[in-house]
């Protein structure tokens, strides 16, 4: 019950956001930040709208690592960041679709999430009723040599999420891939606004099912930052345990699926076993295979029973035994290497420009991991090595995942060895004095998940922005497939495994 102990009522005109400040800037200040992004002095973390203002989160090279900037735009327009720094483009298009705020001078004004099917425009801004049932969409032109187009989706051949890919190919070679997303847009921004903390946590856990633990953790950390809640040490350990189990399950699932897309079913079958055993252990320890709704602001809702620890040790030992075998199977199969090496290259400069997180960034030389860079509890207590590569191809992304598997195994061991006893959730109550803001950056299996929220004193969420790492990975997939053959697309796509749901919100 230590809320409000460190906080004083906001005095100045600057808002109070924790743990990183939010500053109100004018147009000149806004553009200065956009220019510094373009020069590579800072990295863009997110860009989002709220009422008649826009917010931008940037990653600094020094402390504080994160800054949030806000620009009032009473006339409904703001200077485009994308004009100077293209990674902002889709975020700006989404802001325009949802909030009706126009980005002045933006290179691309086409709608992004809005397909003209909602019956309204600007659902989170000044709503306008429309009668249309579908907007036309103009894909980017392709000129030159004879080529053909291949439209794929939104319903894909596998058991995967929906999205549309437009390939322009010359023979077998892809000249351009253009993605069209937004098919699984569920209106999460609007559902979050006005929700209680409890309900908002449920929604956050369902932004992207494969990252449910990471999203719950990010949401909880942002609420805890806003209300200055201290999480008990045992809860922090259990959260990390769930997060690492989720990471392991996803990496094994994906490594298998990548190999399966190169028609190497043996690896898929073996990795599937590991994934299944992790999920079963998760269900046995925490009561849910994906560990959904197990993390709440203040701590965790399920304790790890003492008798379950042995099962987790056994699981980790078995995975430690299996991993080198799987690595050998992957690395020694030359027909598989033939498909993965040199395929789907993402240049280091692009990864840096897009501040691309997760294994996609790490396989292209950008070694950012929120567990280290932000160092939220309990990770600073653990020794682990983050994988990295500069090979930039599908193969590198698989190897980085193997590195991450090793790191997660190291972490889980340290958690099991050193988890302290004690309460699993902090008793905390709403201070009922003034509106608070909090933010968090959490490393999901796919990359860093950013959350910023504002909660009223009565516990109603005013605005909650959730930014999936996929926002900065999807555009790089378009670059990765260029000059590859169409048949290698599934391989490239799976090596990224971007989230549709997390991106479309």
């Amino acid at each position: 019950m230590n809320f409000a102990s460190k906080q004083t009522a906001p005095q100045s005109s600057q808002p109070t956001c924790l743990p990183w400040p939010r500053e109100i800037v004018d147009r000149t200040g806004w553009l200065a930040f956009a220019e510094s992004l373009a020069k590579g002095e800072r990295e863009l973390l997110s860009l989002w709208g709220e009422g008649s203002s826009v917010h931008m989160a940037v990653l600094e090279q020094r402390e504080p690592r994160l800054r949030i900037l806000s620009l009032e735009c009473p006339d409904g327009a703001f200077p485009s960041v994308a004009r100077l720094h293209i990674p902002a483009s889709r975020l700006e298009r989404a802001i325009c679709d949802l909030y009706g705020l126009k980005s002045e001078g933006a290179p691309d004004h086409r709608p992004w999430l809005d397909h003209g099917r909602w019956g309204i425009r600007q659902p989170c801004g000044a709503q306008e009723k429309i009668n249309s049932t579908c907007d036309p969409y103009e894909f980017l032109p392709v000129e030159g040599e004879p080529f053909h187009q291949i439209p794929v989706g939104p319903v894909h051949a596998g058991i995967i999420e929906p999205g549309h890919f437009r390939f322009s190919a010359n023979g077998e070679t892809v000249i351009r891939l253009e993605e069209r997303l937004g098919f699984v847009h569920k209106g999460i921004d609007q559902l979050m606004s006005g929700a209680s903390i409890e309900r908002a946590a449920q929604i956050a856990a369902r932004v992207s099912g494969d990252s449910t633990v990471a999203y719950s953790l990010a949401f909880a950390q942002a609420v805890e930052a806003a209300f200055d809640v201290n999480v008990p040490p045992r809860a922090a350990y259990l959260r990390a345990l769930m997060a690492e189990l989720e990471r392991l399950a996803n990496h094994f699932g994906d490594v298998g699926a990548i190999c399966n897309d190169a028609a190497f079913a043996l690896m898929h079958a073996q990795c599937g076993l590991v994934r299944e055993r992790i999920l079963r252990e998760a269900a046995s320890c925490f009561g849910h295979r994906l560990m959904m709704d197990r993390i709440a602001p203040g701590g965790v809702l399920v304790d790890l029973e003492r008798e379950k620890v042995a099962g987790l040790y056994a699981l980790i030992e078995w995975i430690e035994l299996m991993t080198p075998r799987l690595i050998a199977l992957f690395g020694d199969t030359t027909s598989l290497q033939d498909r993965t090496v040199g395929t789907g290259v993402v240049s280091e400069s692009l990864a840096k420009q897009y501040a691309c997180g997760g294994y996609v960034g790490r396989a292209s030389g950008r070694e950012f991991d929120a567990r280290k860079a932000i160092g939220y509890a309990p990770y600073p207590q653990f020794a682990f090595e983050i994988g990295a590569s500069k090979e930039c191809d599908v193969d590198a992304r698989v190897w980085v995942r193997f590195d991450e598997i090793r790191a997660s195994l190291q972490i889980v061991r340290q958690i099991l060895d050193g988890a302290p006893e004690g309460p699993i959730i902090a008793a905390w109550a709403l201070p009922e004095d003034w509106t608070r803001e909090g933010a968090a950056l959490v490393e999901g299996f796919r990359g860093d998940i950013f959350v910023w929220l504002r909660i009223r004193a009565d516990g109603v969420v005013q605005r909650c922005h959730l930014r999936d790492p996929s926002w900065f990975q999807w555009p790089l997939l378009e670059a990765a497939i260029k000059d590859n053959i169409v048949a290698d697309f599934p391989l490239c796509n799976k090596s990224f495994n971007c989230s549709y749901s997390g991106h479309d919100l």
Binding site: P154, A157, I159, F183, H185, K186, G209, D210
Partner: protein
């Protein structure tokens, strides 16, 4: 690779037969399902999965049906890549408005006789997304649904049980 292949030959199958404490025996489920599917569909049931806005949680568990522990194919059921090849559409998600037409067209592209199984709480009534401007809600409000398999997400055993219930009640 040889080691894995050799092990695969020598080791007992991982596919489960033993009953689990809280669910009917998987083997028993398998037997019933296999027999009925064989009777009614001549050994095969082709399933096309359609994500109509799910968070991907349901897809992960549907995927798990293909792993060696559940091995859905031993029951004559398999996932196919096109609705044109399908008997059953397995639909997940709160049917986003942006996916509605795609779902309708997928349904239209599935040859008769066809059935729809709605998987997950979102597909049942929109789940946590039911009040959204961007979601239609229940799958049943877009295409006729023959069976709901509830859960958020339903685990693979629940999915198997649902598929069995479905085959048994098929007319």
């Amino acid at each position: 690779m040889q080691k894995f292949l050799l092990q695969g030959l020598l080791r007992r199958a991982l596919t489960e037969r033993a009953p689990t404490p809280d669910a009917a025996s998987m083997a028993e489920l398998g037997y019933t399902l296999g027999r009925t599917a064989r009777q009614k569909l001549g050994r095969s049931l082709s399933i096309r999965e359609v994500d109509a806005g799910s968070c991907n949680g349901c897809e992960l568990e549907i995927h798990a049906l293909n792993n060696a522990y559940y091995d859905l194919e031993r029951f004559g059921m398999r996932f196919v890549a096109s609705p044109r090849h399908a008997d059953v559409l397995l639909v997940t998600g709160p049917v986003t408005k942006n996916m509605r037409e795609a779902l309708e067209r997928t349904y239209a592209a599935t040859p008769d006789p066809k059935w729809v199984i709605a998987v997950g709480d979102c597909a049942f009534d929109g789940g946590v997304f039911c009040e959204s401007y961007a979601c239609v809600g229940a799958v049943a409000s877009v295409v006729p649904v023959d069976l709901h398999i509830r859960g958020c997400p339903p685990d693979p055993t629940t999915l198997l049980k649902g598929l069995i219930a479905f085959v048994e009640n098929m007319e």
